[in-house]
């Protein structure tokens, strides 16, 4: 599904965020990208949805080299990717329902599809009773579930989350992780950048560890850190 070959990312100014990364993520996998702050996790995520272009190396998505996508093809790549951020990024003046239907409006779905699909995803993240609430009336965990629903509403092939529990307390974080696991079990590939050590250790998923931009460990059913 996703393959990286010798990917290096250098920011203008010379900061090397990623160094010669080789990586393969298959369809249906659940992958944690771990590492301390500044290790390059966010940069890797940004490369995947083509927010940034690699300085060197190739990135393939379903067999397509995404470096070579034309500017006007990028939106169609992104429609196959659901994205979730640490800060939720909801629109404060829109209701829960509107925040999600917005994602379908943007890709020009029909009214009928929107009316059918939005309640489905809201039900899946357990927010059916909050459709009319504004984000400011929700807890952090609930807001992140709205963001999850928005990322899922267009049926992406892959869900990418950058520190999805970074702003949440441990219980709520656990809830979000369970949701992500559930999404993965229904067939969506999930990639989560995180440094939530305990959660990652409990989940027993594949762990890719970055250290100052280099890939230092790639382990099935791994834990956050194998140093003891």
């Amino acid at each position: 599904m996703i393959e990286l070959f010798g990917v290096t990312k250098m920011y203008p100014g010379g900061q090397v965020a990623l160094k010669d990364i080789n990586l393969r993520i298959s369809k249906g996998e659940f992958v944690f990208i771990v590492g301390p702050s500044g290790a390059g996790k966010s940069t890797l995520v940004k490369l995947l949805f083509r927010e940034e272009l690699p300085t060197r190396g190739q990135i393939f998505f379903s067999g397509r080299n995404i470096n070579r996508l034309r500017h006007r093809e990028v939106p169609y790549l992104r429609r196959r990717i659901g994205i979730v951020f640490q800060d939720f990024r909801l629109l404060p003046e829109k209701t829960v329902y509107e925040n999600i239907s917005f994602a379908m409006e943007v890709i020009e779905a029909s009214s009928r599809e929107i009316r059918k699909r939005v309640p489905q995803v809201l039900d899946r993240v357990g927010l059916s009773h909050k459709v009319k609430a504004k984000p400011s009336e929700l807890s952090g965990g609930e807001q992140q579930r709205v963001a999850l629903a928005r990322a899922l509403v267009n049926n992406p092939d892959i869900l990418i989350a950058d520190e999805p529990t970074g702003n949440l307390d441990p219980d709520t974080s656990w809830d979000i992780m369970t949701q992500l696991d559930d999404i993965n079990k229904r067939g969506t590939t999930v990639v989560v950048a995180s440094h939530a050590r305990e959660l990652i250790d409990c989940m027993k998923k594949r762990v890719i560890q970055l250290e100052k931009g280099s890939l230092v460990r790639d382990e099935e059913r791994g834990v956050y850190s194998n140093e003891t």
Binding site: R78, R89, L91, I107, E108, N154
Partner: protein, 290 residues
């Protein structure tokens, strides 16, 4: 494009128009002033032209003939003059007819007992008043013509004035149009700024560039259209008033009837739209980065 999408674009545009109401007002004001100025100069020059045509249709060339020219010569010359390109009509005025006309103007008594000093002449009318000078020059070259006279200078001066009125009008209009584009682009920039979160989210959800652009473009176009509509309204009312006033008080001057300006009104809507679209694409390019 889906109806739902189009509705979405318009809803977004109008939300922004209201949210930035002061800047929207400034934009509309700028477009309206630009077009009111353009329109005033346009109305002025079109009417000037119209009145001048009237005056000029009375401007004719008088060609005085040498006394030595006999009847045959006169008739041949008449044919030659009629053949000049741009000449509409040639009338022969004999010595006798000229003195009779003159007597009528100044009074018989004054000229009693004096030998007729007036020569034979042709009065020549031209098709296009702009060509009076050119035709006069050609007429002068024929043998048998003693002297050629026409409202020399006056005609040229009037045309020069119209020419300048147009140029100045155009220059002022261009400056104001540029100011309008600038103000509109600033208004749109505010909108882009107010909606940057949303735009950012739209982009990673997979919105196409055009989907992001349309609401801003519509916002600019609506600003331009409102501005030009105001200009059309103001000019229409003012011109109507002027037309009636002139008709009542200066019956000898006839202004261009307002019905002839309906096409211009459409043109103005078009210009307003262009100014708006141009102003917003400017901001979209620079600040939206899509």
């Amino acid at each position: 494009m889906r109806l739902r999408t189009i509705k979405y674009f318009f809803r977004e545009s109008f939300t922004s128009l209201v949210r930035n109401r002061w800047m929207s007002l400034a934009s509309v004001g700028a477009v309206a002033s630009a077009l009111i100025i353009l329109g005033s100069f346009l109305l002025l020059s079109v009417n000037f032209d119209y009145i001048l045509k009237d005056v000029e249709s009375q401007v004719e060339i008088t060609a005085y003939l040498e006394d030595s020219l006999d009847k045959n010569g006169i008739s041949r010359l008449n044919n030659h003059l009629t053949a000049i390109i741009g000449v509409k009509e040639v009338n022969f005025i004999s010595k006798k007819a000229a003195i009779e006309e003159f007597k009528e103007q100044v009074g018989k008594e004054l000229l009693e007992g004096i030998d007729n000093p007036l020569p034979n002449s042709f009065r020549i009318k031209v098709n296009d008043p702009h060509e009076v000078a050119v035709v006069a020059e050609k007429v002068e070259k024929f043998a048998g013509i003693d002297e050629v006279k026409y409202g020399k200078g006056v005609v040229e001066k009037l045309f020069k004035i119209i020419h300048w009125v147009r140029l100045i009008g155009l220059a002022i209009m261009i400056v104001f149009a540029a100011v309008s584009v600038f103000i509109i682009s600033n208004t749109i920039r505010l909108t882009v700024f107010a909606r940057r979160r949303e735009i950012n989210i739209m982009k990673y959800i997979g919105a196409t560039d055009w989907f992001v652009r349309w609401p801003f473009l519509i916002e600019g176009i609506v600003l331009g259209l409102i501005g030009s509509s105001i200009a059309i309204g103001v000019l229409g009312i003012a011109y109507n008033y002027l037309y009636i006033t002139v008709k009542l008080n200066l019956p000898m001057i006839s202004l261009v009837p307002k019905e002839q300006f309906y096409d211009y009104a459409l043109g103005f809507l078009g210009i307003g739209m262009l100014i708006g679209a141009f102003g917003s694409s400017f901001s979209i390019k620079r600040f939206l980065n899509v």
